[in-house]
């Protein structure tokens, strides 16, 4: 009787963990991350992952450059026009195995561009989480690149370091324009920051 109970207890403990490990390996096919989110954050804050237009211009004018240019737009848009030497991987199909294999080529940096910088940035984060290293993005959309870099004979200097994240307005001009800027700044430095309730809860125990 006692023997049976011990056997059952040990078997349950064993089955839970062994079953979970085996399940996690089956689950691996449904794309498990290779990098934790803090590691991805470190990667994107450490290295320069945006490609400026000057570098891109030089690369595009080189013969046999070591750069994998990836177009994330739909196949129809790609068929109409695309950057020289780029391959097409639609963002909807980026998680397919053959596409991931294309992106994972060793010693070959890849640059992404899309119909907007938002999409390419999201693709960058997702692919870095899945363990694709050596990825960069071209800031701006394909339309910006085409208009400012390729259509003219020489690139527009104002767009060398273009990034759609830059502020296009002096926001303070519109919000409460009677007040001077200095007053607003003073107000912030003199307010005492309100701390949300996050007191440590001590859970004590013992035997």
């Amino acid at each position: 009787m006692k023997n049976n109970q011990l056997f059952n207890g040990a078997l349950i403990f064993f089955l839970i963990f062994f079953g979970a490990i085996i399940f996690s390996y089956i689950n691996n096919k449904i794309k498990v991350y290779k990098q934790a989110h803090s590691e991805v954050m470190q990667m994107i804050s450490k290295d320069q992952h945006t490609f400026n237009y000057v570098d891109l211009y030089h690369y595009l004018n080189q013969e046999n450059n070591d750069l994998l240019i990836v177009d994330l737009r739909e196949a129809e848009a790609y068929a109409q026009s695309h950057l020289k030497g780029s391959i097409n991987i639609p963002f909807e199909k980026v998680l397919e195995r053959k596409n991931l294999r294309k992106l994972r080529q060793k010693n070959k940096p890849a640059v992404l561009y899309s119909s907007s910088q938002t999409k390419s940035a999201q693709a960058l984060l997702l692919l870095k989480s899945l363990g694709v290293d050596n990825l960069h993005i071209i800031p701006g959309s394909y339309e910006t690149i085409n208009k400012k870099l390729l259509s003219s004979d020489y690139p527009d200097p104002a767009y060398f370091f273009y990034n759609s994240e830059k502020a296009r307005w002096d926001f303070n001009r519109f919000f409460g324009k009677q007040k001077s800027k200095k007053q607003t700044l003073d107000k912030h430095t003199h307010t005492i920051p309100e701390v949300p309730d996050m007191e440590p809860a001590a859970i004590t125990g013992g035997c």
């Binding site: 023997n3 934790a36 991805v40 954050m41 440590p200 001590a202 859970i203």
Partner: protein, 404 residues
Amino acid sequence: MGPLIPQGIISGELNFFFAFIIGLAFGFILEQAGFSTSRKLAGVFYGYDFVVLKVFFTAGITAATAMFFMKYLGWIDFNFLYINPLYVWSAIIGGVIMGVGFIMGGFCPGTSFAAAVIGKIDAIVFIAGMFLGIFIFGTFYPTFEPIHLGHFLGNVFIHDTLGIKQSWFLFFLIFMALIAFAVTQKIENNASRFKELLYAEKVNLRWPTFFIIVLALTAVIIPQKRASFVYEPTATALHKEILSSDRYVKYDKAAFSIINKPGDMQFIDVRSREAFENFHLPGAIHIPLHKFTDKNVKVFINELNATPVLYANASPLADKAWFFARRSGIKNVKVLEGGLNHFFDKIFTEHQWEETTDIEVLSYMRFINRARDYFLKDHYESIPSKKEPHELPTPQTREIAGGC
């Protein structure tokens, strides 16, 4: 319930309920294992009964194995756990005092309560002595302080100190436990005087031993690196979420919320500190992008009453923050579509309204004009905003103290 409360899965009040249940179970098991008898406890030191060693070693390796595999499977995030810091002198002296008290009294603190409840007088005296000791320590704390806080080593792991992998440490621990069980069983069998007292029937430990050895070997064999946690959406699910535009809040919704329902949306500025101080939406909080992997950001956003809306100058930065928020397991985070640039484009540029009788277009037109006047004339200062803009406090770990 260490990792469950900081992650917001259960509330802090429920903690007391679980403490009650776990306390009942603990007391039941102590009494059921015979730990309220000081003879049984003291048997370890006289070599006729090693049940204390067996029970606590078993508990230790069970917990260690469970922690290892739960971490491996992503069920537990070690960043959320509080690890007791090591003060070498207080650990050594405390251990000696505890051991001497154990031999003399025949109880350890927890079992003395179990024994006192069933009416043992020696246990009651033991508890009185314990309170006296606590009183003396508290009263003369300034004298003891240099010893109490002496030789601080911080939060150290034994496998780091030994310089081996966590999995190998677990393997050796299980190996050591099994050897200890075998040796103590031999000693018990030789102490024939008490033999008939101990076990009415012989217990076959073949299967539990086999299972724990297999688990120990598995721990060593499996690869160490896994980065998915149980609260994260899988890559496929996250990809789908990125493709759908459910996360976006339109500029007119945001403006409406600022003007009419200030408590409805909590705007979170993910830009740099200078940009935030130069300009921010009314009532906004500043959380820069790199903080989005901190655990206290997760706790903070989960405890908000309003819908959190992330914004930056344009979409990409806010969307990056959204990505990290989703991977930390924060749900219902929204992004201001197009960011501040789009917001200002739509509200402050002069529109060429065409003559129309469409009621929807007319009301939209009226709303945009009203919003422009509102923001230009500094009315937003009168918004009854409870939250002042602030930065998040420094990270805090919730302390989980315990032990036997």
